[in-house]
């Protein structure tokens, strides 16, 4: 355990700490963010009404749309000179979700990422290969700071260049791997082609996340790599990776509750649900300064496990592996994709409302995205090269907008299935649940 005092804090004490922090958070949000103040006034709640963690249900929810409406810095609660980092994730309409961090925010995030690595047994003696993307995406830098906080040697590979990843993994004696679970399988496949026997390497644990995966994938990863494959949860709105992580018991992800307070609600009514019931995961970032996030609706479906204390000694409650989404968001190779973004690209290219279908599949270990677009009279040309140019243009625009390589297939009109007059937009053939 990286920080036993926090991670194994007696539950009573933890709830008291959460209550105090929630009050301070509500006060920060109310005093410094007009958006939050207006929301709290609408609900008729003031910071002084928040006296214990149980008062959380009196506070309003925050949604991804709110982030978009406050683009870029409307959610910030501190003057700009206190911001030391800005990250952003893809938004539903092309405008990203912007998150700022104060020095304390970066510190707390690094602490939680370090706890996540330590969940798999990592210590200062380890070498952590970080194959999440570095950049606006929080995956790479989040785990990087976590590894450094732990005192381990961070190997900032970022994503891609799999042969080199494998060469350095072998030559540097990497012991901890951080990447998407599908990329872990990709590494295993390429290593086999290169004739590198990964099972002989000193790998011991992996923190895999940023996309949905299954127990079957875990089993496969653990057959191909000599490590314990652990699920990690996070999202940029909350901080980044390190909101919750599985321990070696591999039975749900411990939430680092002194920083992130989890709730499960009924997505239709917003009513809180008891532990053990499935619903939408909602997080409150108790210690965040730059963006004091209150009751953020993640749109992830899961439950808080109610099967008693964990053998590892951590007292943070555990959430189950993600069970789905409340919206139509797809996660493709760790990238968030909304069908509306695809539609935006198509409309912008031709100025018409084309019929399209997104087909997501997994070939080998990697997610694939195909977009079928119906060729209407206005898109049609009787020259092959012009149709090919149209196809390539869609491909490039999708790549530029979503950072996903999609196969574009031009299809005949009326071939995309319509249900009740409305075209079906997504076909997810991946077997994840």
């Amino acid at each position: 355990m990286f920080n036993p005092q926090a991670e194994a804090m007696p539950v009573g004490e933890l709830r008291k700490l959460q209550g105090r922090r929630l009050h301070d958070l509500a006060k920060r949000a109310y005093d410094h963010v007009p958006f939050f103040r207006a929301r709290m006034q609408e609900k008729g709640v003031k910071p002084e009404d928040i006296r214990s963690i149980d008062d959380i249900a009196r506070l309003p929810f925050t949604t991804k749309t709110d982030f978009r409406d406050q683009y870029p810095f409307g959610m910030f609660a501190v003057p700009h000179q206190e911001i030391i980092r800005i990250h952003a994730s893809s938004g539903t309409t092309g405008k990203p979700t912007v998150v700022g961090y104060t020095r304390n925010d970066i510190d707390n995030w690094a602490e939680c990422a370090a706890r996540s690595l330590a969940c798999g047994g990592a210590t200062a003696a380890d070498t952590v290969q970080i194959a999440y993307g570095y950049g606006l995406f929080t995956g790479g830098l989040g785990m990087h700071y976590g590894a450094e906080r732990l005192g381990a040697a961070a190997l900032p590979m970022s994503s891609g260049n799999t042969e080199k990843q494998i060469m350095l993994m072998k030559d540097f004696g990497v012991t901890v791997l951080c990447c998407t679970p599908s990329y872990a399988l990709q590494i295993a496949e390429v290593a086999a082609q290169m004739g590198v026997d990964l099972m002989k390497l000193p790998l011991k644990s992996g923190n895999f996340g940023a996309e949905p995966w299954t127990e079957a994938m875990r089993k496969r990863i653990e057959e191909l790599l000599p490590l314990k494959a652990l699920d990690i949860y996070g999202m940029s709105e909350l901080a980044g990776p390190g909101v919750a992580n599985e321990c070696l018991e591999q039975n749900g992800l411990h939430v680092f509750e002194d920083h992130f307070y989890p709730e499960i609600i009924d997505p239709a009514t917003g009513e809180p649900l008891p532990d053990g019931q499935k619903g939408e995961l909602v997080f409150t970032c108790l210690t965040k300064e730059a963006v004091p996030l209150i009751r953020y609706r993640t749109r992830d479906i899961t439950m808080i496990l109610d099967d008693g204390p964990c053998a590892c000694g951590r007292t943070g409650r555990r959430i189950r592996r993600l069970m789905g989404r409340t919206d139509d968001m797809l996660i493709i190779r760790g990238v968030n994709v909304f069908p509306s973004q695809v539609e935006d690209v198509l409309v912008r290219i031709e100025g018409v409302h084309p019929q399209y279908l997104i087909i997501v599949d997994r070939q080998g270990n990697l997610d694939t995205m195909e977009i079928k677009v119906e060729v209407t009279d206005s898109l049609f040309s009787d020259e092959v090269r012009k149709l090919e140019a149209l196809r390539d243009k869609i491909h490039h625009q999708i790549k530029a907008m979503l950072n996903v390589n999609a196969k574009i297939t031009l299809v005949e009109p009326k071939t995309i299935e319509r249900t009740l007059g409305k075209a079906k937009r997504v076909q997810d053939l991946r077997k994840l649940t």
Binding site: S381, D382, V411, E412
Partner: protein
């Protein structure tokens, strides 16, 4: 002079071509010439028919993506090097052939080849200047 050619978008799936041709046949439209351009994903069927308007209506009504393109039907001397001579003339005039295909039947002692140019009027002028015969549209539809 300009011949109206019908182009139809086809997915590269079995039965698609047959389905289009069945519609055309059912409407009593007769095909004079055809070509099929294909890629791994899709194809473009190009038809010269005896009744362009009727054919267009039938295909549109059955939900196909269609367009009309102007092409030229050029008489080609039926001997070795005949087509090459014409292409030479075109190339000298700086004209680019977008695509071309041969007619199914023969009109006269000469073969007939359909050409699609980016600039059809420039092509007409160049062909005439080189003394190459272009078949009138009415003749082509009733070949």
């Amino acid at each position: 002079m300009k011949v109206r050619q019908i182009s139809i978008f086809l997915e590269n799936r079995s039965g698609r071509l047959a389905s289009v041709l069945k519609e055309v046949g059912r409407a009593g439209v007769n095909i004079r010439a055809l070509s099929l351009a294909d890629t791994s994903d899709f194809g473009i069927l190009r038809l010269i028919v005896d009744n362009v308007d009727k054919c267009m209506k039938v295909l549109k009504d059955s939900g196909h993506t269609v367009s009309v393109t102007e092409v030229l039907a050029v008489e080609v001397p039926d001997h070795p090097g005949g087509l090459a001579g014409i292409l030479d003339a075109l190339s000298e005039a700086g004209l680019n052939v977008e695509y071309m295909y041969a007619f199914v039947c023969r009109a006269t002692e000469k073969a007939v080849v359909v050409f699609r140019f980016e600039d059809v009027n420039a092509a007409i002028a160049a062909l005439k200047k080189s003394g190459i015969s272009i078949l009138p549209a009415e003749v082509v539809y009733s070949l």
